[in-house]
Symmetry: C2
Subunit: 117 residues, 2 copies
């Protein structure tokens, strides 16, 4: 359903009158938007999005050393990207022995998904 707001001046208007009604945007929505933007920003890099894609497709946990050869970047750089994803709460890691295993935290992606829906 499309609500036809009355805030759309048809074509032109005499000078003095306001061209449009103010649109309110509550602070609650602003805060939520900030969080959503944080998530989107973390996903806004091709490598990071591919990493999440890989992790999602391998429903379990994936070792960093499996990830590195997938991309044309150094291992420290990948580590940097993984940290960004961790800071955003999109993935988490667990250390077993020498290796670190990463996995997706579905709740984070659900936040975005819920907004988009």
């Amino acid at each position: 359903m499309t609500v036809e707001l009355e805030l759309t001046p048809k074509t032109k208007r005499p000078k003095g009158e306001p061209c449009c009604e103010p649109v309110v945007y509550p602070d609650v929505d602003r805060e939520r938007a900030a969080r959503l933007a944080e998530l989107a920003k973390a996903l806004g890099d091709p490598i990071r999005l591919q990493v999440v894609d890989v992790l999602r497709k391998h429903a379990g946990q994936v070792c960093v050393c499996e990830l590195v050869p997938l991309f044309d970047i150094g291992q420290p750089t990948l580590s940097h990207h993984l940290k960004k994803l961790r800071d955003a709460g999109i993935v988490d890691s667990e250390k077993r022995g020498l290796w670190s295993y990463y996995y997706v935290k579905p709740e984070a992606l659900d936040e975005l998904s819920a907004w988009l829906a």
Copy 2:
């Protein structure tokens, strides 16, 4: 369902052996990931995400002059953000008289939504 891949070394391993099997990631997925990252990047700024939020909530078209007072940035800066959203294909605009009206292109958001689902 969780598939237990055999690429997870339990804890430790003797030196010579590979710690994990390679994970393949097809080029098709890479290209899609690049597009999705482009979308996410465009949404990865609080102001831009709020703009999209406002446009979505006002199912119709919204004039730029309604948008400007919502944010603590200058009009040129908002115009810059709108261009980013347009370049990403997330919104589009239509000029009527003196005013420009922006609206969301749902298909773009659907791409992201489909990936997250």
